[in-house]
Amino acid sequence: MAFASGYFKTSYKADLSLVETRTRWLFLAILIIGLICFPFIASPFLLDLASQVCLSLIGAVALMLLTGYAGQISLGHAGFIAAGAYVTAILFKEFNAPIWVTLPASGLVGAILGIIFGLPSLRLKGVYLALSTLAMHFIVVYMGAEYESRRGFATGIVIKPPSIGPFIIRDPLVWYFLALIAAVAALLFSINLVRSRSGRAWVAIRDREVVAEAIGVKVPLYKLSAFVTGAVMTSISGCLFAYYRGFVSVEAYSLFLTIQYVAMIIIGGLGTILGAVLGTIFVVLLPYTIDAVGRALQVPARLTTYMFAIQYASFGLIMIIFLVVEPGGLVAVWNRIRNYFILWPFKRRPMGR
């Protein structure tokens, strides 16, 4: 990372710290205070958006580990989310299971799915692998739909708000903090992974598989571990989403959901954790922004029926624009802006990272 001059480290341990200077501690503190104060100022609508961003972030950072770091392309992400949601719904409906059962159960089912559908990655690459993960998505959604229709929940499954002891989690404010904590935990876990042994092995596999093996990385094991890590985190986010919405239905887990997650990591910037964060914020807010713009422009009522189509199309368009104009994603834009201010009023790009 670029630094203003005059900052020196004196130990290798200091080089491992995530927050490196006093200025950064200050910015972090401001950010934390901002995140804590946010729900008390924001409207219920904005609070809902923030919770959605936090919950989506878990899935996005999981996909970033799998695709952005380990280089395994997956189009089955909505399948993992659906798996978590359906495990939660089924356990709740059949056994009235509480959240401390459904949450680990979702993770476990995610892990099993991750192993099974990670296995093709040992043989397949690129588009072929993407196709086999897509098959997983359809299998999971089919099984979910089958459960719904057999048990007579044709319109979807309603889930009661989760409770821990006597305390029922229903208040949007409590949900916001819960989602925030989960997102921060997922982020920290991922950051730690990518800066240590496992993350380096993943990047080695993405960059050059033959060489990764020649330096002693057990390539099949690490490919599977990437799938399992991604699947567990995503299924857990699926479980939380199911409780947050209070409703599970097949329509919510279409292929479009996968595309949204892929869009998050591409628009954010592949191979960076910050990219997952920026991309998630961007993609979650985009439909609402388009809505708001439409309202501001006072689109005639007969055109509002096309809003959904416009949202679909704008995703594709924005992804293409990013791939062509800024393949580094929002992270590259962010770094440029930051470097500009670090060096202001000078113009030279900083050396190194």
């Binding site: 290798y12 042994r197 380096r200 092995a201 080695a204 033959v210 330096i215 002693g216 191979g271």
Partner: protein
């Protein structure tokens, strides 16, 4: 020779499809020696290195190392056995900086698992610091200090090759395979790499198999030379004796017009 044998190649053959690439190559590599493997383009030098390092599995023959036959092993098993290699085209991990590339070479020496990494527990921190120290020694040895945090893809080609050498050294191997370390380098860089190779041999005591095209470097540095041509061994011995061998000269330079 009375020195102990480190690696013994016995009648190695390799065919890919119908193409015979290596046929019946045998030679021994002694402990602590710098053995140069030379031959014209397409002679099978890199293929032989690939056979040793497990990237190819030879169709016949044995490669004995510490009582283990490497001929049927995968490349990570070969790495575990204590053999590291560099690549002709550097093959660095391009999304990592120099430090991360070298640390990735420590993969086998590190033991921490996924959960420990994810929570960054004491074990992982301790390991990261310890192996950073080991890697820093290599950075100092190879004079890479100023590139420590530079993305490897942006480095000059010659420096990338040195980083590739560093990644192999980070594995602390017993046997080092170098695939044309000086190719594409200028005189200055070649002298640097020659110095590094000699220091690796004398100070670290590694056995080195060295594929090289620069005959001057080979003649100056190598302890022994093995010459390949069209997948067979045509000569083996001390540099002065091999480089003046008429068959070797013929395979490299051809015969004088009208000499026959």
């Amino acid at each position: 020779m009375d020195k102990p044998i480190d690696l013994s190649i016995k009648a190695i053959s390799l065919a890919i499809g119908g193409l015979k690439i290596l046929s019946g190559i045998s030679f021994d590599v002694y402990k602590g020696e710098l053995l140069a493997l030379i031959g014209p383009n397409g002679a099978g030098k890199t293929s032989l290195l690939n056979c040793i390092s497990g990237i190819y599995n030879p169709t016949g023959g044995e490669i004995l190392f510490n009582g283990m036959d490497l001929a049927r092993r995968t490349s990570h098993e070969v790495a575990e056995a204590g053999i590291a290699r560099t690549f002709q085209l550097t093959e660095l991990f391009k999304h990592m900086n120099v430090l991360q590339n070298l640390l990735s070479g420590r993969h086998l020496k590190m033991k921490s698992g996924l959960l420990s990494n994810g929570f960054f527990w004491g074990k992982t921190i301790k390991e990261e610091v310890e192996h950073r120290q080991a890697v820093e020694k290599i950075i100092e040895f190879l004079e890479l200090g100023k590139y420590r945090k530079t993305e490897s893809a942006g480095l000059p080609y010659g420096t990338q090759k040195i980083v590739g050498l560093g990644r192999a050294l980070a594995m602390e191997p017993q046997l080092l395979l170098l695939d044309e370390p000086s190719a594409g380098m200028n005189r200055q860089e070649k002298e640097d790499i020659a110095r590094f190779i000699l220091r690796i041999k004398h100070e670290m005591g590694l056995t080195i198999i060295w594929v090289e095209h620069d005959m001057q470097l080979v003649g100056d540095l190598a302890d022994r030379i093995v010459v390949l041509n069209f997948g067979t061994k045509i000569a083996e011995g001390k540099p002065d004796q091999v480089l003046s061998d008429p068959t070797v000269i013929e395979s490299y330079l051809g015969t004088r017009a009208g000499a026959k």
